[in-house]
Amino acid sequence: MIFKQVAEIVGESNCLTEALQSYAVDGIVPKLVVFPENVEQVSALMKLADQERLAVVPRGSGTKMSLGNIPRQVDVVLVLKKLNKILEYEPDDLTATVEAGILLTDLQRCLKEKNQFFPLDPPFSSEATLGGIVATNSNGPGRLFHGSVRDLVVGIRVVHPGGVITRAGGKVVKNVSGYDMNKLYTGSLGTLGIITELSLKLRPLPEVSKTLLLRFSSLSEAARLVLQISTSELLATSLEILDSGAWEIMSRADPSINPGQGVAAPGVTFAARLEGLSENVERQIIQIREWGQQRGTTGAEVLVGDLHDKFWEKIQNHPQTFSVDASNTIRCKASLPASKVEDFFQTVKKIGHSQNLDPVMFSHAGSGIVYIYFGLEAVPTGVDRMSIFSYIIREIRNLSLQFEGSLVIEAAPTELKKKVDVWGPVGDSLKIMKLLKEQFDPHGILNPGRFIEGI
């Protein structure tokens, strides 16, 4: 019996066999949940799983289990949370090596003591693990200035099906020795191997951080302002646009982020995060405000200290901020050339309105990333909801592709996943991707079916 073999590897106390409903993926309940304590145990588990052809779902805190198509099979959920140590931290080199199961928040707390941070601000800031963040290529508003996962991971350790353990990259910040395998595993959703260790590039904390909020009556002016800034000498860390629905949810949940009611009028909210030397933060606030006034802004707020932190925590954790009821929310992410954000916003609104829906939308506009939230409840019962949403998603996806971008459904009810591919088309490189999957996971035991095109 598999349980016995698994228990021999990790110990009985590290196996769960009952009440596994909360580990289900799209409703498919695993037979076993294991909590390995070290890389050797992960390796032994992967050897066993490959021999026995067990479908393995790697997992950190489980914050992104909604991502992906419906799995073909789920046997073992492999939880990495016990691999949670900081293995090396070299403040003078601005690098750290950590185990994959460490919480981002725990790492940040430790780095903060040395006035440093890992410059990544993905959703689920208090629960997400580093391994999960890298495996799902999860990023946040700060990517405009600091880059994304692919820019910040310099080394990786991976356990492959069959149990082989490999390393790639290194601990130094510049490295061209061999293929850059870090990139291959980043965003691969655990379909090529299980990430157990990561070496990261760190940054010093900025001297000053402030937020400038501006309100516009039209989306167009907010979007043009973002482009004006991103194509100028200014150096904003984040440039965001929130539609009126998104702003309403945020300010209702926490009125303190709008202390002077400066952005109370209905319309579109623009937000800039400005960080660095105090002189250049002040100068940027003045300059952006001035540009905003030239574009007819109807209100402004500057957030500092706790309010600044609170505002960005809400933006960073947008799935929690904007999904009032997670199981009844569809969350889509469009990635577009930055110049297309305005057109995209307007057209998606029209598509929504054509079905009497008003999605909540917000954007890391400087980076061309747009999130769209639909509440299932907005469609009256008795109507075929899934048909309506699959129609809308196909329309939005076509639009994204037309703009040379992509659209991924990050969270949706299983019923909808039966009708729409969550990833969308991959194009003419699909064959290479499938061959890579075959090379690294010949028996298809890792997350079968969840990734692109059945991988």
Binding site: V172, V176, S177, G178, E233, G368, S429, L436, F440
Partner: protein
């Protein structure tokens, strides 16, 4: 297929004037900037992706090896056709296809010269950031193959951080597209995997890169020290202080002397080391930041800190750094240029050891390098007519590399593995690590026709330094 028919078939694809096959035409295509050479059988000059595709279809049908070539400035032998065959010279695919300022992207052919791209955007105040020393002649395609770096990569990242999409002709002639103008396309990050693959996975025929607005203000400082170790400590102190300069370069005494004799950049020849520090960003606060850097230098016993007062003085300071390798080339008949990387908090220890190693083997060593990211470039001068001295220089080089690796470093920071260090790969990667990379190669390049003999150690070869090809 005989040679004549192959020439005819290639000529049908690119035109007869774009196929070289006479020995006298092939001579310049047997080497790049590495020490080794090998003669190709043909050189072809395609101008379109479709032509590259047709060429590779012929090559794979006839099992002829092929190598892509940009400007031939690579220093690890990436463009050397070790097994002969076809050199696919991309120098005529040199068009900038699109510049989208609003989205901050440019789409270029691989033969575009690095600096030409920045020049094309100068009027709009934009530039392409990665700036390898050879940026006046090297191509973006070559930069992609080698994942090239440069002084300003300290703050902004190397080539891979600036490349977002590729059109690639696979070794079997199939054309694929990876990434694009936007971020986060679904599927595996093949763009990231291809950048730095040294032309062993296919031939890149179009590249989408990030472009950025130039910084508003630049401040360049030159700090000189009476001891190399003080300079190295200063680098660590600057990084640890929470400032990441745009560039942080270091040169030691032999390098300074060579540079001054050649370029008269105004470096103090009595100094044991200089640091060239460049700050970029908004003008506001820049003076305060510069003052902080000056203070760090002074507290680490800098004998002088010069701040460039205008663009001319700034260019003068950079002139010394940029011509350093050339200047050293003037005083010796050949040198071995290394490219190892160490953690930045190990700089002091590793540099001391490098000098000890040089002393032990009685060779000279000059250090000119990207100190800010720990990327060392020890240059070991060699007199090729003195067999014994060459031998000592190579042994010293190997020991330097091993010392860097022991300090937690790596084989190459920006030059690539190529022919130069493929036999040394087992020093940092075990069999399983290399097998994972070979799986990638097997997917893209199963017949090993595409740039054979690079990156991976040759089976059955041992690590003995004297057996390395050169």
């Amino acid at each position: 297929m005989d040679k004549k028919s192959l020439i005819d078939e290639l000529a049908q694809i690119v035109g007869v004037e774009n196929v070289f096959h006479e020995p006298e035409d092939l001579i310049t295509y047997q080497y790049d900037a590495y020490l080794s050479r090998a003669m190709p059988d043909f050189v072809v000059f395609p101008t379109t992706t479709e032509q590259v595709s047709k060429i590779l279809k012929v090559a794979s049908r006839e099992k002829v090896p092929f190598v892509a070539r940009g400007a031939g400035t690579g220093i690890s032998g990436g463009a050397i056709p070790v097994k002969g065959g076809i050199v696919v010279a991309l120098s005529r695919m040199n068009k900038i296809l699109e510049i989208d300022f609003e989205s901050r992207r440019a789409r270029v052919q691989p033969g575009v010269i690095n600096l030409d791209l920045s020049h094309a955007m100068k009027d709009k105040g934009f530039h392409y950031i990665p700036d390898p020393a050879s940026q006046q002649s090297c191509t973006i395609g070559g930069n992609v193959a080698e994942n090239a770096g440069g002084p300003h990569c300290l703050a902004y990242g190397v080539t891979t951080n600036h490349v977002l999409g590729l059109t690639v002709v696979l070794p079997n002639g199939e054309i694929i597209h990876t990434g694009g103008k936007a971020l986060d396309y679904p599927g595996y990050d093949l763009t990231g995997l291809l950048v730095g693959s040294e032309g062993t996975l296919g031939i890149v025929t179009e590249i989408i890169v990030r472009i950025e607005h130039r910084p508003e203000a630049v401040k360049t400082l030159l700090a000189s020290f009476s001891s190399m170790l003080d300079a190295a400590k200063t680098v660590s102190a600057i990084i640890a202080s929470g400032t990441i300069p745009a560039a942080l370069e270091m040169m030691d005494k032999p390098a300074i002397e060579a540079v001054e004799a050649f370029a008269h950049a105004g470096y103090p020849v009595e100094a044991a080391a200089v640091l060239l520090i460049e700050l970029e960003g908004l003008k506001d606060g820049m003076d305060r930041l510069a003052k902080k850097i000056v203070e760090i230098c002074q507290s680490h016993k800098a004998i002088e800190v010069k701040v460039a007062q205008n663009e001319q003085e700034r260019m003068q300071l950079w002139k010394g750094r940029k011509c350093a390798a050339g200047a050293i080339g003037r005083i010796c008949n050949k040198y071995y240029l290394h490219d190892c990387v160490v953690p930045r908090n190990k700089l002091v220890a590793v540099l001391s050891e490098i000098y000890q190693i040089a002393e032990k083997y009685q060779v000279q060593v000059a250090n000119v390098f990207h100190a800010g990211d720990g990327n060392l470039h020890p240059l070991v001068p060699m007199d090729m007519s003195d067999r014994d001295q060459v031998e000592r220089a190579l042994r010293a080089g190997d020991e330097i590399l091993k010392c860097c690796i022991q300090a937690g470093g790596t084989l190459s920071g920006e030059h690539g593995i190529g022919l130069e260090k493929n036999e040394l790969m087992p020093l940092i990667f075990n069999e399983a690590d290399l097998t994972a990379m070979k799986k990638v190669k097997a997917v893209f390049n199963p017949e090993d026709l595409c740039n054979p003999g690079k990156i991976f150690p040759t089976p059955g070869r041992c690590l003995e330094v004297t057996q390395r090809p050169r």
